[in-house]
Symmetry: D2
Subunit: 383 residues, 4 copies
């Protein structure tokens, strides 16, 4: 019988829900050496906490997240809170000897991220960061194909994450406040596509050559204030940047909440000498692959439905061919891989830890610097 | 607090798993007047039953499905077994006063289906049939748009359900034996698209004008037999038919397991005087809609991402815009609607009961007759 | 220097224009052994004839098409008139020793078509029928791939030609009069897809198993009559039929002018044991190809842009890779192939002659019979 | 009867062919106030010149382009030569009082372009630059929709022009020599998408905020040299840049010849407050349009087939609905519009003259400067 891992989750919003679902489903769909047990949930809002815990089957709940550190029963703490508290919570738990899984981006500031990386380096617990898109089967397959040399020398990376919910009618949510969120679309969305590019290529960005950060909508209706009261949005609505990878690829990245017509278009295309891949989250079950060594007469982008058990990453756990999966399954696949790692097995594809996510954070920082300086920034200058 | 409905499930294969997942998720994602409780699972294979029950959280398990009838604690029995036992099991449970949910197609034969319909008419329990695709948000939206008159007079229905797993290398599974399955692609796949067409149009087929049924692969490797032993596949690999609807639409249907290149392409297009809709399950989050009353200058098929809370059926229960869902969510949405109906609330879109599914069964029968006769068959002749 | 072929064209409407353009362009884009010379145009409407001739560079013009027979200078007569006069004109020209190219369908009735075939068999001139879609590079490539055995045993053909210009507001054009047009969507559109299927498969239909023909809009506004005057449309708005091919494939065909949302969706998909192809005219530069012998991990529909010189049919004549071509180029490619045949060279892919087009006409007839009989019709019964 | 305009063309390569075809087709397909007459062709290679002239119907030919200036019969000179001779030829012809149409980009250097603009300002002849993509119906429609305010405040422009013919096996064509070509993908491809963005938005770029230019393949096989001899490619294989428009939009541009999998993917997407448009040349008959003021329930990207006479730009001249056009038709549409302008009529959408193309050239220059400086460059610094 599988061993167990008692999990504590901090946070009960969108991510709290996505992670709860992941822990719930892992034992049903995966055979993993260690099974997650939904032990304790912690959150500030005591009123909604009990119903949330009951609904999801958390055995205990608390409004005092610090108490988790002292609870010997807890093995893994999952930090699913706003970015400004990641560091404090994650470091406390690492110091208490827990494994820590943290929502992305690693932190709201580079200082926080650096401290988290340092804490992880000293800790005996393992760390994970919820870059869930790595565990879309199509993205995992892209990673595998690239690692096998199917792309050859990579020339181009073209990544953008386009949403459109941030129009002028959207009120001043916490995501529009720099103090809380650290940044806007940048940390929220560019973090994902930087991680995906690094993951698929197995390469690091060495320079951000140019960048634009823009806040188009500077005033938004205050939440809970009196009618007509406006507050200041001080985060970016979009950040675009150009970058170079160590092995030579050139890249463009764009994250925005104002790309009318796109709702969750997390897109990446990579062009190499021997092949190319293309992924768009709105069709997440598909990977497009072009094999440049195919006979030119029948060469073409291949629409790969990444759902075939025995052939595609994570497909064994789910349904028959082309009985497609959705957004939430990336989280379940990741929770399963975390359990594999804790059970000393290999994950299907590599999991990002704090040190890895810190590299993504440095790129975020470099891009913001480049936008401010209106000039290139070497990654070696950002530490 | 929500009331509860004790569920018993018969079957632990593909559908047993899909339904277990549905009952597990309903209380987490939906606020329904009655919550399903995973009370008992019944299946023939006692060896695999306990681990299955444990994995999914079924409180009790039994290899004697008949015992469910006598168990007063059980409110709803879910029949997820091969088609040849649907009638026996469903009728027994209806006679015992249970609500019954049955997998599609309603039965393996029209005689069975008729008996089930009759039993349902006399019973006090409610009946449901798992035509899960009705509860894809895109299909449900198509139904709503059609009901609102957005299509106008309907000219055409073009439906096909294309799979490709039934090639010559696939062995003689129970699905290839008429005795067990009743039919091949016909009952498995045409049942779905007949139901979808009837559901979206709100109209009934009055004639099957012509049909082809074909078994391309007549011999298949026996399972568990000695190497090289071949057995006879006596079900259709494909059935195509043409039909007329009462209000005048003409239609084509095709189901096949040999449509190389297609894995689960459940497709329907409907063209009416005022508009048209198109759906393909391989991109299940999308509905394509053409509004024929749009200005011709900007008219075009609209790619509707059916994931917007407040705007699209079932979207409230899940994730933010365009955080797409998958195959399994159709089952969860249906289980939630069943709980609504048991709690005297309206389902998001209508649920098929035995009488409704019997109409689909008649069309299946008429199509087979037409294929045999090589001539048109009026539905009035099939009862 | 290339030899010349004096061409006479009968007809100055849509097809007259498409053919004129073809003869104009062949010598500019192709190196052919014989070049077409735009010698004479004939048409009934004398008033518009001179401007048309001048515009397109026809050297002579006449309102008396019979005079072409007597003109020794003319080598090839191109019959681009309504279907009801094809036979009379084509036979007269064949008897006069001319080569004849005729618009599709071969004729408005099977009797006419049979007579044309007989006349062709006795004549010394060559015959051609303008099934222009054979000469879309993507369709020609599909033919080549199928001829090479890339599809293997063919299971399925799924062809439809969907237009939508025939709504209730469209007046009573000649295309809606049986006397002139012979049929509606059937001869106009099904003729194309029957020819395409026969061409790609290299196989013949042996049975129409069932068919529906429907006239949804029975009254249309008379042209040039007084306001409000309505006349009777006595052709089909749509014809759907199911068929079997000699080598075993089963097929569905549909042609309609009422498929709201589709403008010129000439679509075919063929599924075989080893592979599949898919073509849709609205994206005419693309062939989709699925190679069933690809590794399952990277197998997928391949989007082949059929524009690569040296790799794809006809691409050498035109522009660099992916500088796409359009509808008219099918006609130019065909005119070039006709010149090759007249110059004793091989066409890029086979050209249909009257005997070949007669086979398509038999299928049209069989489908209409099946629709009338509401029962299967063997092709052997239709001669 | 239409007046005539005697045209002289310099150049007989790819563009010489595309322009010849345009002049040939205009009088056949368009009713324009002035018709082009294919008067004289000039080119250096005398040997291929006569066959080219004969093939295309040019009445005269010469290897001395300067003689065109002195020929009073000639009204319009079309400069379709490599970029390094545009200035000399165009200026000579303007000084001789001719109208001048010049291939894009305007010139190989900004100095040349400035001199051309100045010459145009003083000349009595009109000038045109062959940014042919403006005259794709879909792009022209995008321009019209934007001009009508359908996009509202524009947030984003995302443009890339992706080709893949420039791999390591491609030899050292003149397009890889800076002396001849001025630049690589930049002038060839970015010129197009800069023009398209300016054209659709009706706005000017004020700053290039960052840029990357890269030559991945630095050595290529010499043409006509001895086997194995390699020469230096000194132009960019790709240029990426970020930019800001005066009215506030932020933009990314990318041109490359190494985007494996893409052959001629000229792509632009524009997101505004009220709507969005998307165009990709590989599907050139389509414009995708998202109307942000549509009801959220049925809002979606609309696939507009831009082929409807009376509704879409240029569609009247060609074929019935969805009988699609190709690459060459952009040139024909443009030649027709030039004739309209010379005949004092309005073009369907505005034509770029030298002053307009000079603005695009300044952006090209600014992007190259930004790449060199690794810092932002204001357009006001580039004159």
């Amino acid at each position: 019988m599988a061993k167990e891992c008692n999990v504590a989750l901090i946070g009960q919003q969108f991510m709290g829900r996505a992670h709860s679902n992941a822990y719930l489903k892992v034992p049903r769909f995966f055979d993993v050496p260690i099974e997650p047990v939904m032990h304790t949930i912690a959150a500030r809002d005591g009123k909604s906490l009990e119903p949330f815990a009951t609904r999801w089957g958390w055995r205990h709940w608390t409004t005092r997240w610090r108490d988790l550190a002292a609870d010997d029963a807890i093995d893994l703490v999952d930090v699913s809170t706003p970015n400004d508290v990641h560091a404090e919570q994650a470091i406390a738990m690492l110091e208490a000897g827990k494994h820590v899984a943290c929502e992305k981006p690693l932190a709201g500031t580079l200082d926080d991220a650096r401290a988290m990386k340092a804490a992880a380096a000293k800790a005996k617990g393992k760390t994970f960061v919820w870059f869930n898109y790595r565990r879309c089967p199509a993205v995992a397959l892209a990673h595998q194909l690239a690692r096998e040399g199917r792309l050859g020398r990579v020339y181009h990376v073209r990544a953008n994450y386009l949403q459109s919910w941030g129009g002028p009618d959207t009120p001043l949510l916490w995501r529009f406040e720099k103090k809380r969120a650290g940044s806007g679309a940048h940390g929220d969305l560019n973090a994902h596509i930087i991680d995906m590019a690094r993951f698929i290529l197995g390469d690091e960005i060495t320079e951000v050559t140019g960048a634009i950060a823009e806040t188009f909508i500077k005033k938004r209706a205050k939440l809970g204030g009196k009618r007509g009261a406006m507050g200041r949005s001080d985060v970016d609505d979009c950040v675009l940047f150009l970058a170079r990878f160590r092995k030579g690829a050139v890249a463009s990245f764009e994250a925005t909440r104002l790309a009318t017509g796109n709702q969750n278009a997390n897109f990446i295309e990579i062009n190499g000498e021997h092949g190319a891949i293309r992924f768009s989250f709105e069709d997440m079950n598909l990977l497009w692959y072009f094999d440049n060594r195919d006979d030119a007469r029948t060469a073409g982008w291949r629409r790969i439905m990444c759902t075939s058990a025995g052939n595609h990453p994570y497909a064994d756990a789910w349904w028959p061919d082309a009985h497609v999966i959705g957004y939430e399954h990336g989280f379940v696949n990741m929770a399963a891989d975390m359990m594999r790692v804790l059970g000393r097995k290999k994950p299907v594809v590599p999991l990002p830890d704090f040190a890895d996510a810190y590299e993504t954070q440095r790129v975020l920082e470099a891009a913001m610097l480049a936008a401010t300086n209106r000039a290139a920034v070497k990654l070696s200058e950002v530490k």
